[in-house]
Amino acid sequence: MTEATGGQPPEAAVAAAPGREGPSAGERFINGILPENPIYRQLLGMCPTLAVTNGMQAAMTMAGGVLFVLVCANILISLIRNLLKPHLRILVFTLSIATFVTVVDRFLAAYMYEMSKQLGPYVPLIIVNCLIISRCEVCASKQSVPTAIGDAVGQSLGFALGLASIAGVREILGSGSFFGIRIMPAIWPDWVIMVLPPGAFITLGLLMGLVNWYSARSKGSRG
């Protein structure tokens, strides 16, 4: 599965106050978690969202990897943001992201061998996660380093939350366990389909519908 950054990434929730460069570090952080949640609001990073959410362990290790790569990439891009040429910026983003992902991959293989074996196929997927390239584009290439860090951590937490919601449902219904520990009664027939790819689409669709229904309802009651 590959992804493309289709069009401009949405920059919605908190509009920049007039006279300022953009949202502050705190605003970026808060926005990333729920108002601009990467999965439910921006629909970015759908590839890992669908592919690695059949268990909580895999999903959370994925979220940890994304956190590291996103923070590093945002810091670096923010530091060199005044040197970037508009038509070469995507190339620089991809180059940086791929480097950090490779460093993570080698580091895991050397110092956390068991974890690295478990993550194996998931680590290279971080390179094509367009959540990261989108944050480099939207925030890090335009704002200062502290703001970029706030943004990276907030978005990563939002991503982790999104992955956890899908992986939790899929692992409990599909394997009857949570973080690998059996929690459903022995009589529970594991719904194998929830572990297979269709389960990812069904869960994501239903949860997305729930989130939209809830936000539409709370908007309605406010207005």
């Binding site: 592919a51 040429k85 190339l91 180059l95 940086s96 460093v103 050397a110 196929p121 297979l196």
Partner: protein
């Protein structure tokens, strides 16, 4: 005309200086990481291989095992009480998604499989990657190496049949093929060595 083209070329290189510089820096960083960590990664793999020998050849002592070569492939002799009781053969081949690397334990005559371990795989999470689970791997113990192993979906009955992983027939077949090929080579090597003695 040539002058103009050359100034364009100059221009592109000038424009791309950051990309070039970053590529060099990143290349250097990755080379450094690779140099610094490759030995450790190789050690991890070797430690994992050695650590698996007592499970792959039941009764073998990890400390007493040593590396050897049979028919051009790297193997490990598994010893217990000073006597060789089996072999551990590292082997690999194409799986469904990517290369699969295995360790196969056999008895000293290489006539019976005593264990199977998956060192590396990138099979489909949730389906093909079930090949790493104990429950599936344990059925290899006790299978014969005299006839090639075959995958079945109807429940293994003979000592050369292997139950496929549900939803991952290709991964299962790949493993049987890798095991068959490497054992055939191993047995050929042993017979040739015995003939020489």
């Amino acid at each position: 005309m040539t002058e103009r083209r050359e100034s364009m070329k100059d221009n592109y290189i000038v424009q791309a200086w950051l990309v070039i510089l970053l590529s060099l820096c990143f290349g250097g960083v990755l080379a450094g990481v690779q140099i610094g960590l490759s030995q450790r990664i190789a050690d991890n793999k070797l430690a994992e291989t050695m650590g698996q020998i007592p499970q792959l050849v039941p009764g073998a002592e990890e400390a007493a095992s040593r590396e050897d070569e049979v028919a051009g492939q790297r193997v490990y002799r598994a010893y217990a009480g000073g006597e060789q009781i089996g072999w551990v053969i590292p082997c690999g081949g194409q799986g469904f998604a990517d290369r699969i690397e295995l360790l196969v334990g056999v008895d000293v005559a290489a006539e019976k499989i005593t264990g199977l371990y998956v060192l590396e795989q990138k099979e489909t999470p949730g389906l093909g990657n079930k090949i790493v689970e104990d429950g599936w791997r344990s059925q290899f113990a006790g299978k014969t190496t005299m006839r090639g192993l075959a995958v079945t979906k109807a429940g293994a009955k003979t000592d050369s049949e292997i139950d496929a992983v549900t939803g991952a027939t290709i991964s299962s077949e790949s493993i049987c093929q890798i095991v068959n090929q490497s054992l055939e080579k191993m047995r050929g090597g042993l017979i040739a060595a015995a003939g020489k003695e």
